[in-house]
Subunit: 542 residues, 2 copies
């Protein structure tokens, strides 16, 4: 059972004391300056006790790196999804390590799927299966799932698994409760209030009058914005419905499809959504907005709301909030900012992207995209908090709500049972602080610019638009001499990337350029090496 | 460091090999028949290796108990929130135990809060705090949260923390992805399809034509039912909005307030919701429904939908679905079943409660209430699956949806980013099977009846209505000679229960009886001892 091995390039010996699939206990004896290089532990939790000597432990927690000095009798635990590097700084040292479960030697490579991949699973329900068997199925499910934890997953507006989020999620689930009432979730109610207050301050609003709630996603938050705007325009809609109003909602032609879904759902109809043209960077043209509103007024429609997109899905464009605010104010319209994707801009040192936010009435803020909070952790924040309550509170909840709306936050919401997912964002923010979040976003913005410079020197890579945010849209052209359609080649490249489990990068299309790749820069560990690997693979596809 | 202790009443010795706050390694030496009685490990994971001998291990996983025999070299891990009992069945035996983190000796007693409890926390955001400090705050948050894991928590329509759910949640979060597209969540898309198919079969529908989605809560599912009914009645509403329709929605006067919230949100207005009277058991009176519809037709309204509540929040009443179906069919109305709370009735051997479900058009099914799935795990299922797609799909999602709607399930939903919470319900169902779920619900129904018999023998306890489900509504009368108001005494009793951290039981009121306690029977470990303790405490309040 006892086994000694000496690792190359590191002057320490490693003795396995106990070993099962469920756990492993290891003792290490170290010489001065010996280092166990930066490594993660897969799904295992790693705890280390210092038995002798003095050690330096560096932990990489997503966007943050922390270093601590540990002496005899001290210990540390590396959270799941974090990496750490341990170094002996005394003459000699001894450490005891517990891994639970045992670390898997064959760490799973990235897995991406094509539609025609056959997934063979016993997913059918009916008979009972013992827990060991079910646990095994769960690990199969994990292995067959797309490796969104990889920096090579640039397909969605999120990437990576954050250790702070995982730690918060454990607490959320062990304390499982609903956010409807204060008595069932006192601390979480306070945390929800704190986050929404701070977001209101980032908007430049008076945090005393504003309010907000955690909501089930960016789409739901946009739907709530339409609902609040309608209520503000006509409080009678609450009891009497839409009636004959012919409202108009203005979004850019690059806005998220949830405005159409929402207009359908809340009974305005998709025809009420008017797409305003964008410029070459994907930003709404405010003169066009004004012209459209004037025309709609002439036709007897009722302009209701302008939604500024802060971060479009394809190009990452930010509508000029300040310009739209001038128009919205002129016609007395509700101004909503959909920052589902652009939320990190509120933490960046570059505030140009979101200037004018103080003039807006409401905000959609997704913390599960760039910040890696629990999916989904969205906030809907309004300048006029009282309106959120008036627009949503109804009778009939007396069996549940025994306190004021200040305390029973479910009265602000469409949801009754509601989870505390947003604790994950609170945990991340608390650990990084404003400054840490600023660094995280600004470093990724720099990486985008470095990549732009690289692309400009590649003949077969074409930028679709100069990026202002974390989206980089690039078209891959076929190899010289190829007769392949350059407008479709990027789709072929993408399929090859997925097929070879190299990377997962989404694509989009427009009428001018055809198809192109959309690279999303959010993974905390994503660096220029990853980006070059992807682009070099793309250039190598034939 | 080495320490030996002998536990009373158990012939085994326990030696601590290594001990830190982060982990503990213990060796136990056993005599034949020695038992480590049923125990849990708080937030610690416990793994045991059999070093010598043969052992029997019994694990209690919420509603399910499993037993296994283990020999030399074998091991097991007790999932968090499960309990286990280990017994030596050979002459002697040795086991090695790893606890990670170390088990806390002072297991936290139940914590419940009154509104005036001051919670002092450093919840403010802005500065950064190192991870050790943040971890400590997370455990403070956990300690100050309401102990919903206790059987004495009977306040909500959920109670207890299920080990199957916790295990699934770990997988969900490590594979964090969105259910919008097949390519980002291939296995989860299959699982969603499997669950909704099986639920359609439980309704007695043709599972080939039906479809369904995971949705953000029972309220959202009820809202989706109204939306689908509207779309079915007038597909033009999708583009043109509600227009002049004066729809009417029929629910019982005991129905959930989400119908009012939804009617407001989807633009019909709360006046469109008509409350139909219920009988003494809280069930909608179908003759009254019919009369109301006829009257509304005369007044020029358009009856749209009847929602049968399967399990009301206060009394746990089930509307007579079969009778309502006759009325709905007669007037060509959509029939929705809101089984957010009554969902387990579809697994019970007593199918009387939900007979007629095959005649319904849609279902709200909450798996996070009785079943203890991740909060929230709701399913919205429709008989006509094509309608769900037609009612919700819009253009504008081409950047995301590259496959058919069969594969890209986000097209059926209002949500874009959507988590895989429902894996927790799949995991529970897979482990227990149909039969295990049936036993779980039927045992709790029996416990309710046992409690009813007990209450009938207590002069100061008054049943409000004979329970047909898992809600038991009981009024506590003041002690003899007291001048306290009997209509308000139950609220006083409840406050005392919470103040002394004895139990958390909600209350409700009606005009005939005044206030009464509402006991909810869902916690997997809840037994008659817990119930008697609560009622005896209630009788002792002065």
């Amino acid at each position: 059972m006892f086994e000694t091995e000496t690792l190359r390039d590191a002057k320490y010996t490693r003795t396995v004391l106990f070993e099962t699939e469920a756990f492993e206990v290891v003792r290490c004896v170290w010489q001065k300056e010996a280092i166990s290089m930066l490594h993660s532990h897969g799904v295992s939790q790693c705890s280390v006790l210092i038995e002798n000597g003095i050690f330096e432990n560096k932990t990489v927690l997503g966007f943050k790196t922390e270093t601590q000095i540990l002496k005899v009798g001290q210990f540390f635990t590396t959270p799941i999804a974090a990496e750490h590097e341990i170094k002996c700084i005394s003459e000699t040292g001894t450490t005891l390590h517990v891994y639970s479960p045992k670390i898997s030697k064959d760490l799973k490579p990235a897995t991406f799927h094509n539609q025609n991949d056959k997934l063979e699973f016993h997913l059918d329900l009916g008979d009972s299966l013992n827990w060991n068997h079910v646990s095994h199925l769960l690990s199969e499910i994990e292995k067959s799932s797309v490796t969104t934890s990889s920096p090579y997953f640039m397909n969605q507006l999120f990437s990576g698994v954050h250790s702070q989020t995982l730690a918060a999620e454990s607490v959320i689930h062990r304390t499982r409760t609903t956010l409807a009432t204060w008595e069932a979730s006192p601390v979480y109610s306070l945390i929800e209030k704190e986050i929404t207050k701070k977001l209101a301050m980032k908007m430049g609003w008076d945090s005393k009058n504003s309010d907000g709630i955690g909501i089930s996603g960016g789409s739901a938050a946009n739907m709530m914005a339409l609902h609040c705007a309608r209520h503000s325009n006509n409080p009678l809609a609450k009891t009497q419905g839409n009636q004959n109003h012919s409202y108009r909602i203005y979004v850019s032609d690059q806005a998220h499809y949830s405005f159409l879904k929402s207009a359908n759902a809340i009974g305005l109809g998709t025809n009420s959504v008017v797409s305003i043209q964008t410029d070459e960077f994907g930003k709404m043209i405010s003169d066009d907005l004004q012209a459209q509103i004037q025309q709609d007024l002439k036709s007897g429609h009722e302009p209701l709301l302008v939604a500024a997109t802060a971060g479009t899905t394809v190009l990452g464009a930010f509508d000029p909030i300040d310009e739209l605010a001038v128009v919205a104010r002129k016609f007395n319209l509700w101004l909503h900012v959909d920052a589902a994707w652009g939320a990190p801009a509120y933490f960046s040192k570059n505030t140009d992207l979101i200037k004018g936010s103080e003039l807006a009435d409401s905000l959609t803020f997704d913390a599960h995209k760039f910040f890696g909070a629990d999916l989904t952790s969205t906030f809907f924040v309004v300048k006029n908090g009282a309106l959120l309550f008036e627009a949503n509170d109804v009778k009939g909840g007396e069996y549940l709500f025994h306190e004021s709306e200040e305390l029973d936050r479910g009265r602000l919401s469409w949801q009754c049972g509601r989870g505390a997912e947003f604790l994950s964002f609170w945990t991340l923010w608390k650990n990084l602080g404003d400054q840490g979040l600023q660094n995280a976003i600004d470093q990724k913005l720099e990486l985008v610019q470095t990549t732009v410079d690289f692309i400009k020197n590649q003949q077969r890579l074409r930028l679709i638009s100069h990026p202002s945010f974390l989206n980089l849209c690039v078209q891959v052209l076929p190899p010289q001499g190829s007769e392949a359609d350059p407008r479709a080649w990027s789709i072929h490249v993408r399929k090859q990337m997925i097929k070879h489990h190299q990377a997962m990068v989404n694509y989009s299309e427009n009428s001018k350029d055809g198809a192109f790749l959309r690279m999303i820069f959010v993974h905390p560990q994503l660096n220029f090496e990853h980006v070059k690997n992807i682009l070099n693979f793309a250039l190598g596809v034939c």
